[in-house]
Amino acid sequence: MMEYIGVDEGRVNFAWVSAAEGGRFGELVKEVTEKVKKLGPNKGIVPSQEAGCCCGCKS
């Protein structure tokens, strides 16, 4: 669904990690960070000229 509304493929990641698996969590975060860094800055969900500021105004 996130990809459907225009978020780049691979930017939304889900994983299941137990609270006891610290090592695995670290590795996953590293992996995902690498992956997302490769994708570059987030292009958002609307083309940049359309997006307003956080309050919704167009400035």
Binding site: M1, M2, E3, Y4, I5, G6, V7, D8, E9, V12, N13, F14, A15, W16, L28, E31, V32, K43, G44, I45, V46, P47, E50, A51, G52, C54, C55, G56, C57
Partner: protein
């Protein structure tokens, strides 16, 4: 003519139910003040049953009025209403024992936007049903249009025109239709992310955040909706295009496995936003992943209320 017969059969049924005190209230449709504007109507006295009607503009999803009621209610339900009713029964929002369902097979409701387009903006004065065509009358114009061409897009792909649950069926069942292939969703999926962003931005820049979509939805019944909550602010209340998209995406997530694709949200939208473009993505996803269709069977457990060890999880990070 066929519609008038159905209407009088509904009136008779409602009158009888109220006279025999089997129900306290009948929820159905009455004539609106304009043609093709039938409106939900609530009948408590047998003598008022004559107000009930049935035609090709009874588009509201009446399941919306049936949640958490203490009284015994009868409802005039077409296919999509019945599916939403089943979904609400499964979520314990409706007590089946207190609900009498007057099922009416539905071959689709007429989209007033399409009528307006056919009349090129002229005001509709009168409408007459003639076989499978509608005779539209406006000032200086009379035209005959195939009812099928004027139908809501949601009705065109609906496979459940015949109510899946009912206590009484009025009218003849409608013929079965082929499986919905979600061609519209697939076409949108095939666009590039940038194209999808642009298309959605164009669509959702129109949103005025009136929440009519939410209010029309029988499945949106949280006492406090995430969009109304101000601590924390789950989603901005302003009408920025990105916030509008996030609002709708949130709503769609909340209706995962619960949306019967009745199109009530889409019809309620005063800005004419194609909301089904989003809602149907979730309907497709749930059907493909879990083989689940909302509200088609009383014994089905809702997709989100069931867990299987072999549930597909293609969304997990590949390791």
């Amino acid at each position: 003519m066929r519609m008038q017969k159905l209407a009088s059969a509904i009136q008779d049924a409602a009158k009888k139910l109220l006279e025999e005190k089997k129900v306290d209230l009948v929820v159905g449709f009455s004539r609106g003040s304009l043609p093709l504007r039938s409106t939900p109507c609530f009948i408590r006295k047998p003598e008022d049953a004559a107000k009930l009607t049935w035609d090709c503009s009874c588009e509201n999803n009446l399941a919306n009025y049936l949640r958490r009621r203490q009284d015994r209610v009868a409802v005039v339900a077409k296919g999509c209403d019945a599916r939403s009713i089943v979904a609400l029964i499964n979520e314990n929002q409706i007590d089946r024992n207190n609900l009498y369902i007057i099922g009416v097979p539905c071959s689709g409701m007429v989209d007033r936007v399409k009528v307006d387009a056919a009349l090129e903006g002229k005001d509709l004065i009168d409408v007459e049903e003639k076989g499978d065509t509608l005779v539209l009358k406006a000032k200086g114009v009379t035209m005959e249009v195939k009812t099928g061409d004027l139908m809501h897009d949601t009705c065109k792909v609906c496979r459940y025109g015949n109510p899946v649950v009912y206590d009484m069926m009025i009218g003849d069942p409608v013929p079965a239709k082929p499986e919905d292939n979600f061609a519209d969703v697939a076409a949108f999926e095939d666009l590039s992310p940038a194209e999808r962003r642009a298309a959605l931005a164009a669509e959702f820049s129109k949103c005025i955040r009136c929440y009519a979509c939410r209010n029309a939805c029988p499945m949106c019944y949280c006492t406090e909706c995430f969009v109304d909550c101000s601590a924390p602010v789950w989603v901005n209340k302003s009408t920025g295009t990105d916030d509008n998209i996030m609002f709708q995406a949130g709503r769609v997530f909340h209706s995962a496995g619960r949306c019967a694709d009745c199109g009530a949200c889409d019809r309620a939208c005063p800005m004419g936003i194609n909301l089904r473009g989003m809602t149907r993505k979730m309907v497709k996803e749930v059907k493909e992943l879990f083989g689940y269709e909302t509200g088609v069977n009383l014994d089905d457990k809702p997709a989100l209320a069931e867990f299987k060890a072999d549930d597909p999880q293609p969304f997990l990070v590949k390791e």
